[in-house]
């Protein structure tokens, strides 16, 4: 039996039962939030004190989880004993960290007012990933939860979740930036002086690209941040280590389409390289081969039978349509299985769970339970 066949028999049962941190990751639009919420509901059902941290849930799903856009603290999920849900607000989380860790009240104010900080905290690529890590660290530190399920931000590339914190801390640490920020230079005179005394081609080029005022804002920002870099770095490292522990689990989520499957396989490799504990792959919304003879006889036979139907008769015309639908479902199912096999060829995803396409949107607790049952069902 190939590793992939073996993986197909796995389920997330023991993951939901035993892991402390479960990270759902994958390309955008593949059902990460739904998967995270379903796993959390199942963990809570098994009596574990659980929280699901989501980034950007669909409106109806958010409502079902008892979340509103204006609220970013943990809230109990209505109708689910032992489950809290929480939404991540990147900017507010960043502000809170500054408030908590800045060395003086004056500095807090200077940072929060800095134009560069405002842009950074709202839009710098990687900030959201970093803030998700910070929140995870917080939730872990409180010791209130046995199981923390986290949904990663919809990044262009699923790898950003692992790389971004390092990129952000590197940036904040500003190895090369701080060469230019000797403490003696007061903000405001920095750029002019740097260019004026000929700090070199580097600064001339940089200020040509950005304009000189940006450098002033930057100088002020970095000076205010002095003394906070280490904390950022330490926490990012703690979370990274926490995620490496066997008590953590990464669930790679994908759709059955080649682009997101490609990202999923890429991410699997990357997790292995970083020594991260991978629980497996969840492929959402898979079209199932139709039952009975429809999945067994040659498709041409189904088409032939459809062609014998009398199109002047409503019932026979309806039956012909059903046969066409069966042919389509079979073609889609075959194409998807091919794509899944191709994407994970030569890899060992550990567990591979295919969640069938539901006939409607999954947006309430009942729908999430339906998904959860499929995630933990044993299929040996």
């Amino acid at each position: 039996m190939s590793a992939l066949d073996e993986a197909r028999r796995g389920s997330l049962d023991e993951i939901v039962d035993g892991r402390h941190v479960i990270v759902c990751t994958g390309a955008g639009g593949v059902g990460k939030t739904t998967t995270a919420a379903a796993l959390a509901i199942e963990a809570a059902r098994r009596g574990r004190r659980t929280i699901v941290l989501t980034i950007d849930p669909a409106r109806r799903l958010a409502q079902s989880l008892g979340l509103s856009r204006l609220d970013t603290s943990p809230r109990p999920v209505p109708g689910v004993e032992g489950l809290d849900a929480m939404m991540l607000d990147m900017k507010r989380t960043f502000d809170e960290i500054v408030e908590r860790h800045a060395t003086s009240a004056d500095r807090v104010e200077r940072i929060l007012d800095n134009r560069f900080y405002q842009q950074l905290s709202a839009s710098l690529a990687g900030t959201q990933e970093y803030m998700a890590m910070e929140k995870l660290y917080d939730l872990h530190q409180t010791g209130r939860y046995q199981c923390i399920v986290i949904d990663t931000p919809p990044t262009r590339n699923a790898l950003d979740f692992l790389d971004a914190p390092k990129r952000l801390t590197d940036f904040l640490e500003g190895r090369f930036l701080r060469m230019f920020l000797s403490p003696g230079i007061a903000a405001g005179r920095f750029a002019t002086r740097a260019v004026g005394v000929g700090t070199g081609l580097f600064m001339r080029a940089a200020s040509r690209i950005t304009g000189a005022t940006v450098l002033d804002d930057l100088a002020e920002f970095f000076q205010s941040f002095e003394g906070m870099y280490e904390g950022f770095k330490d926490r990012a490292q703690s979370v990274y280590h926490l995620l490496q522990q066997p008590g953590s689990a990464f669930v790679v989520v994908s759709s059955p389409e080649p682009p997101s499957l490609r990202e999923a396989s890429y991410f699997l490799r990357r997790l292995a390289r970083d020594g991260m504990p991978t629980a497996g792959v969840v492929v959402n919304r898979v079209t199932v081969t139709p039952g009975g003879e429809l999945g067994i006889v040659p498709p041409s036979h189904i088409a032939e039978v459809a062609a014998t139907m009398d199109l002047d008769d409503d019932v026979e015309r309806a039956t012909a349509a059903l046969l066409t639908l069966a042919l389509e479902a079979r073609a889609i199912a075959a194409r998807q299985q091919q794509a899944i096999d191709a994407a994970f060829h030569g890899l060992n995803p550990g567990r591979l769970i295919e969640v069938p396409l539901a006939s409607g949107d999954v947006h309430d607790v009942e729908g999430l339970r339906w998904v959860a049952e499929r995630l933990v069902a044993s299929r040996s």
């Binding site: 593949v30 930057l218 409503d314």
Partner: protein, 337 residues
């Protein structure tokens, strides 16, 4: 605005939520644009090389290459645009090379993240304005596979944000001309792509509002992978009112498909199909209730995946609409081949 105007502007920025088939739609629009006689450039901005796979060509890069007759392909990355930009403004090949290869680029673009986007839009504007020796525009149409809706607002606001953040310097000067391009509906429009499903529809409606507020002009929204009814109304009515699995079984008597499990599976397929059509209708209504923008639908192709063949079939649908030919609902482009 009706669907005949789909290809009227000279620049289309194609955006949508992740997973809705934004790149497929961009490629189909570009092919339709060529088929309706426009010299076209298809631009990829996130360096994912999706189009390379689709058209089965070499890597796409910063050189515009003719990938099919009258269809050019280009992949813009910020570093290359920055080098070209510096060379253009300073004639400083030496400086630009040095800068691009140094951490200064990373520094500048991290310090003011919008600069990357300004450079991308700047490149598109340059192509839009470019004329040949006879004074004619080189491209009739530029289709940009733009960032997804989650980032499109920041992308479009970048020139303005830049004018606020960067108070002097050449980028500041260029930013104003980009704002002019973005706000001119004859030159540029935003092409939203969605699926007729809850999440994408909600995000599309939100984006449509925010984009309108920004003052950019929207093309009709493309609803990708729209399921076509497989049953006409009379057949659907019969199916819903009492056509049981047993009925199906007796109709299929002697065909080799007359067992009970097959009949039940067929019955379920029909129910699911009708439920999904109903859901699509709800989504159309939700979009209509939330935005004034008309909808243009591309059919779901059951048997194909993201490949030139599929995109070509979708381009047929767009070309027909642009030429004012009727595209009757329920048309199955796969069946026509």
């Amino acid at each position: 605005m009706d669907s005949r105007a789909l290809l009227d502007p000279r620049v289309l920025l194609v955006t949508g939520k992740g997973g809705v088939g934004k790149s497929t739609a961009a490629a189909a629009l570009a092919i339709a644009s060529v088929r309706t006689g426009r010299r076209t450039c298809l631009v990829e901005v996130e360096g994912r090389q999706t189009m390379r796979a689709l058209f089965n060509t070499e890597q796409w890069d910063f050189d515009e290459r003719e990938v099919r007759q009258d269809l050019f392909g280009l992949s813009i990355d910020p570093e290359a645009s920055l080098a070209e930009y510096l060379a253009m403004f300073y004639g400083a090949k030496r400086l630009s090379r040095l800068v691009v290869n140094s951490t200064a680029v990373e520094f500048a673009t991290t310090a003011a993240p919008g600069i990357k986007d300004v450079l991308l839009i700047g490149k598109v504007k340059e192509m839009e304005r470019r004329r040949d020796a006879d004074g004619r525009f080189v491209y009739d149409m530029i289709v940009v596979d733009a960032p997804p809706t989650g980032r499109i607002l920041n992308f479009l606001r970048a020139p303005e944000a830049t004018t606020e953040l960067v108070r002097v310097g050449p980028i500041r000067e260029q930013a104003q001309s980009l704002i002019d391009l973005l706000l001119d509906p004859n030159r540029l429009r935003i092409q939203l792509v969605t699926l007729l499903e809850e999440m994408p529809v909600a995000e599309t409606a939100d984006s449509a509002d925010a984009l309108a507020e920004l003052g950019v002009q929207l093309n009709p929204i493309i609803a990708n992978r729209a399921l076509r009814p497989r049953m006409d109304q009379a057949a659907a009515k019969v199916f819903e009112s009492g056509m049981t699995a047993e009925t199906v079984q007796s109709v299929l008597g002697g065909s080799g498909l007359e067992d009970a499990r097959t009949a039940t599976a067929l019955r379920e397929l029909g129910e699911r199909h009708l439920r999904r059509l109903e859901l699509q209708d709800e989504m159309r209504a939700a979009l209509r209730a939330q935005t004034q923008v008309p909808l243009f639908e591309l059919p779901y192709l059951a048997t194909r995946s993201f490949a030139e063949n599929e995109v070509s079939l979708l381009a047929d649908v767009i070309s027909a609409a642009v030429s004012g030919d009727e595209v009757p609902v329920g048309t199955d482009p796969e069946a026509q081949r």
